[in-house]
Amino acid sequence: MASSADSPFLKKPLLRKQLKKQPLWGKRLRRHRHPNKQRQTQRQGRGQGPRSPVKSHQPTRLRALIVWGLLMLGIVALGVRLAHLQLVQGPTLTQIARQQQFTPDVPRPARRPIVDREGNVLAVDRIIYTLYAHPQLFQKAPAEVAEGLSPLLEIPQDELLNRFSQQKSGIQLSLDLSQEAAERVRNLRLDGLELLPQQQRFYPQQSLFAPIVGFVNVEGVPQAGLESAFEKELLMEAAAAAAVPAAPLAAGSLNPTVPPELAAPLKLQLTLDSRLQRVAQQELQATVDRHGAKRGTVMVMDAQTGALLALATSPTYDPNRYYESDITTFRNWAVSDLYEPGSTFKPINIAIALEVGAITPDDGIYDEGRLQFGEWTIQNSDFSHVGGRGPLSITDVLKYSSNVGMVHIMDRVRSATYFDWLQRLGLGRSTGVDLPSEVVGQLKDRDQFVNSDVESATASFGQGFALTPMQLLQLQAILANGGKLVTPHVVQGLVDDKGSLRWQPDRPTPQPVFSPETTQAVLEMMEAVVSDGTGKPAQLPGYRVGGKTGTAQKVTEAGVYGNGRITSFVSILPIEAPRYVVLAVIDEPFGDNAYGSTVAAPLVKSVMESLVVIQRIPPAQAAAQ
């Protein structure tokens, strides 16, 4: 408009007047609406005399300039402020905002739960709270605060008051408040108290599975058992994703980097059965207590797969209060300690002799009761009151647990062949069990074994070499499953909510070692041991059970056999369709009458009683019908 005012067209008096007076177009409109007013203005304009057009639009221009200037100034000022906020104060403001928006969110579970074969939870993450007091923020008198907290924390009021007076802030009052207790503390509505949530591993079954499952310490680091052996598998991917301090939207489910099949809530399932484990643990503890034994273990294995159904060890500990326990109990001695198996190894030796064709099941052996190998004397355990038993069948050798008979049997096998067989069975090697800190068995040096007669003679009745109770169980399983060397294990794999397996640890395929005919022959001999031999205390009415007792002398620290014994009993059932192997080992039971048959066999029997019920094994007669 201002520019059009300069054009020569508009230099007519009327227009000039119009421009002079009301140069903006809005005024021209008014002229049409109010003609009288317009005329009046025009008249007034005439009266005052015409102004030059240049002079007349100066204030307009100025006004526009001022307005434009102000607007520009405003824009520039805003821009400067924005830059200042974003570039200079940005980081500080972000930090302040974060602090204001931050609510101590409850951390997500970091580790997967561990469940037994029935889905009973053995280990799970739970939320616990750490309670801090900041006396300088108290709105009420410390005495009042102490009065409110005392019953909830189970700390005397005086002690609380004493603690409040020690520091102004940051006094740790409790480390492991449960969720309910934390809620109660919150409901007190006291200022100056701070509850910090965190995830803690919890073992509802307490000491029952401790030697197997292990524990996670306060810092969240697994220290023993499966917790440490399967640390990687137990760690939740979602937890790892959530651990990134990201935007509030970054929930685990929304994180595209976590594949859905791993984000699903998986559990580590074990092959163990809580009910059987409980019975085994209870009976084992009773036996250990009754005989004043040092320690003991009972194991039940499904020989077809190598899966353990129960693995009870004594002593055990409460993983929830691991810090109060003896450190030596953290290791599962069934895999971490060696012992000389004694007579429980005899069935394996017979199987070797049968397999190499050194004997047949119907062969006869002469038992003198005592043998002399140079300076070493080998005699039967009952030699003092029975003497030599004379001619015996192979079955009788097992039935009476004749050491001399075993020496004669293994004498028919060449020492080198015998040694090779022992190695082939895995002696001196790991069993491959999935429990940590497994110790490898000890076998004599090959030259020593082959060149010395007494070595193979002592090995024939299970002494002179050492293995773990777990390895003995594995070897006995060969007899039960038709000759395959299976890998003992307690972990089934990772399962989802519906119970389908998503991941399974790699295990070697079972290698056949003995022929089924051999194992069947040995099983029948073992059945005779229970029905009519040293294993009578393990008889289970109605069931066909095979077994073998074992009472081995323990080597003292000085390296000679002392008074200490380690008694054991192994049993295989049902003989008509062998599947389960039960092994009990009791270390150093007290008393003269402490043998495999008196200490371990009754224990195995009570475990088998529960086993047949839980695994629904019908009695042999019923099965035959």
Binding site: R28, H32, V121, Q179, P204, Q205
Partner: protein, 187 residues
């Protein structure tokens, strides 16, 4: 805006319109006279006179060229379009912003809900396992009068053999076919 539109009414056309309107008024007011063709008198005549004369000066619009008018019309249309577009954009932007805020809040609420559900689930699992363990420990006590399961206390039943379903399934299709064929005939 209205000032720019005003000059669209051309100055020439206005008196004629006025005159026609006045005639119509006169005829309506005095039908008999107009039919008889008598000269009009009185107020009506005055009215007619006033209207037939040239319009007063203040009613004469500023003469405008047709190009300017067209451009104005175009601008006006453009203006209207832009206004509508702006309004639409403002509404869309507000709606979009509102939606993001709503979704954000919903997501927050839902995730808080999910978290609390998960926490409750976790707590329930823990409590149920603790209870199970407590019950098992209670049952272990000799005073509870309970004993572990023994084969002498249980009855083993052989699972009944599954009936072969072939015999029962076979007739169904053979019966069903004639039945469906006969059904319309029955009624």
């Amino acid at each position: 805006m209205s000032a720019a539109l005003k000059p669209r009414i051309s100055a020439q056309s206005r008196p004629r319109n006025f005159r026609e309107a006045a005639d119509r008024v006169t005829v309506l007011a005095n039908p008999a006279r107009s039919q008889a063709g008598q000269p009009l008198t009185g107020l009506v005549e005055l009215n007619r006179k006033a209207l037939t004369e040239a319009p007063p000066r203040h009613l004469q619009a500023v003469p405008s060229t047709p190009t300017w008018s067209r451009r104005t019309q175009l601008l006006a249309a453009f203006n209207t379009g832009i206004s509508m577009l702006t309004s639409l954009l403002v509404v869309t932007a507000l709606g979009g912003y509102g939606y993001t805020v709503y979704v954000d809040r919903q997501l927050d609420e839902s995730s808080a809900h999910l978290n609390s559900l998960q926490r409750n689930g976790q707590q329930l699992t823990t409590m149920s396992e603790v209870l199970k363990n407590y019950m098992a420990e209670q049952a272990e006590r000799p005073s509870a009068g309970l004993q572990p399961p023994r084969p002498t206390n249980v009855i083993f039943l052989k699972p009944a053999q599954r009936r072969t379903s072939a015999g029962t399934e076979a007739p169904i299709p053979t019966e069903a076919k004639p039945a469906s064929r006969l059904a319309p005939l029955g009624y």
